[in-house]
């Protein structure tokens, strides 16, 4: 049951999107998010949605799979939608008690909802089409110019790498501990909230103990393999921008230009 949790889901594939340099994809995603906040009219959103649609289509990730990722945020979506609808002053089009639905409110609510949906889908495309480890490498490389001002680029990337490596191990461990406790009659499913929270203690304590043991062992193994931080370290997989990456960057710039012109014009 616990293994069904997927973190930073990756959808294996071999599309052009999958093969793009992770740095390009990270920058594209960041720009896309910024653009979503520049845009504030219908046409702008339509262009953004269309471009995202093209990317999804090229990536061959099934739309249903992507939409399912929206499930956890439906409540947040509904909440912001309702709040926006009634809280903004303007031309009243419907009134019920103290609730006033305004034209501006409705407009903001719809735009905010569309913005959030595009934002979630856009950023999940990044994780769906990029191997977690390439993502880490990409982040390290993008952050490395900021090392001079004290950003620990290598350390952040190494932490993420280790987390990715040990999440499955710790989930297995949790599963094992839960089974062991259940075999001794522990009950995690019934009772009130406090009771259930209490029943987690016998899981968390051994889990922490084993996490510390793993950390100690791993640190020693890394030292034995000459790990000494990011300095003078080389990488087996060098990141080099290929033709498709340059094409993607050109397309990205064009998209940016269109969005900016469009929001200036209308």
């Amino acid at each position: 049951m616990i293994r069904d949790i997927t973190i930073g889901q990756f959808f294996p594939g071999d599309s052009v999107i999958h093969r793009l340099d992770p740095r390009v994809k990270i920058i594209a995603t960041l720009l896309f998010i910024i653009e979503l906040f520049i845009v504030d009219n219908f046409l702008g959103f339509a262009i953004a949605a269309l471009c995202l649609g093209v990317v999804i289509n090229v990536s061959k990730v099934p739309l249903g799979y992507i939409v399912r990722g929206l499930k956890p945020i439906i409540i947040i979506l509904l909440f912001t939608f309702t709040l926006n609808m009634f809280m903004i002053d303007g031309h009243v089009i419907w009134k019920w008690g103290f609730l006033e639905l305004t034209e501006e409110g409705l407009r903001t609510a719809v735009f905010m909802a569309v913005r959030l949906i595009l934002l979630i889908i856009g950023s999940s495309m990044l994780t769906l089409c990029t191997r977690p480890l390439s993502l880490t490498d990409g982040i390290e490389r993008l952050l490395s110019p900021f090392k001079k001002i004290g950003v620990p680029a290598h350390e952040i990337a190494m932490m993420m790498t280790i987390a990715l490596r040990f999440i499955p191990t710790l989930l297995e461990e949790t599963d094992k501990i839960m089974k062991a406790q259940q075999a001794r009659g522990a009950d995690f499913e019934t009772g009130n909230l406090i009771h259930r929270a209490k029943s987690l203690i016998p899981i968390l304590v051994p889990l922490f103990v084993s996490a510390f043991r793993i950390a100690q062992d791993l640190a020693m193994a890394m030292e034995a393999r000459c790990y000494r931080g990011g300095e003078n370290r080389t990488r087996m997989n060098e990141m080099k921008l290929k033709k498709r990456d340059y094409t993607a960057l050109v397309l990205l710039t064009m998209f940016l230009a269109v969005i900016i012109t469009e929001s200036k014009l209308f």
Binding site: I214, R225, T234
Partner: protein, 279 residues
């Protein structure tokens, strides 16, 4: 004699928080390890085997005494990376020594730390994975592999650093019999290729494969010699609560029963061969 490791009067003490009551894990130990040899170290829990291993590549530094690895003094900070590259180490728990979520990236970890050229790292990684018969798993995630396979990846990670000596600290303790057999045959191959092997183990049938067996007891060396010479001392070995290899035990029983089995017989093959000549 050309020694890759020399240990002179090594004393190692752990300070468990308070300086006044240190735990002496190694007590005045002297040892030379010949280049290209295969040494097995056995001893019961807490006899100081792992402590000794960690002293050999500078993970721990001597409280007193001197250790030279391939001519480098382990106490000298400037040599530490040379020493760790020269003497690689494989640990007991296969889960807790792999760093990356992709097999080939994990094997590349050591060479990357050494600052080796990317094309050369790629060559070494492919070769190391082939050496441990894990070539087809190079894109897999370690948590999907068996214990024995994970341990083979850990060995590949060390081999890719081109060490002259590899110290194995109970590499098979957490494996099933099949995994153990695979790891042992890889260790034999590495030894055949000229790498100095130091194998710490609890399994006597693994120790008899070595050129030299050392039995540790309370931080000191109790016995040291060829497997034949060491396992002849059956009573002494039993007196420190250790077992002897099954064939040594069987030989002793057969001798008591009046069948003249030479004391030099310690492996199954030798026993089978000897008994079959009675036909």
């Amino acid at each position: 004699m050309d020694n890759i490791i020399t240990i002179e009067n090594l004393i190692f003490e752990y300070n468990k928080g308070d300086e006044s009551h240190p735990v002496r894990a190694i007590d005045n130990l002297n040892l030379q390890v010949e280049r290209g040899s295969f040494t097995a170290i056995i001893g019961k829990n807490g006899s100081g085997k792992s402590t000794l291993a960690k002293n050999l590549n500078g993970l721990l530094l001597p409280t007193e005494g001197v250790i030279h690895v391939d001519g480098y003094d382990t106490r000298d900070d400037d040599n530490i990376w040379n020493i760790r590259q020269t003497a690689g180490m494989v640990f007991q728990n296969p889960d807790n020594q792999l760093v990356s979520a992709i097999v080939e990236d994990d094997v590349a970890f050591g060479p990357e730390n050494l600052g080796i050229d990317p094309a050369e790292i790629r060559r070494r990684v492919d070769k190391a994975l082939k050496d441990v018969n894990m070539g087809q798993f190079k894109k897999k995630a370690p948590h999907l592999l068996s214990g024995g396979q994970k341990q083979r990846i850990a060995i590949a990670g060390v081999v890719a650093m081109k060490p002259k000596c590899i110290i194995f600290d109970e590499p098979t303790a957490m494996l099933d019999p099949k995994g153990r057999a695979e790891i042992m045959s890889i260790i034999d191959e590495l030894h055949a290729e000229g790498i100095t092997v130091i194998l710490i183990t609890h399994f006597m049938d693994e120790a008899v494969r070595a050129d030299r067996v050392i039995i540790m007891h309370e931080g000191r060396i109790l016995l040291d010699g060829t497997p034949q010479k060491v396992f002849e001392q059956e009573e002494l070995i039993r007196s420190v609560n250790l077992d002897v290899p099954l064939m040594v035990e069987m030989g002793a029983k057969l001798r008591k029963a009046g069948i003249d089995i030479p004391q030099s017989i310690i492996t199954e093959e030798e026993m089978v061969e000897y008994i079959c000549q009675y036909e």
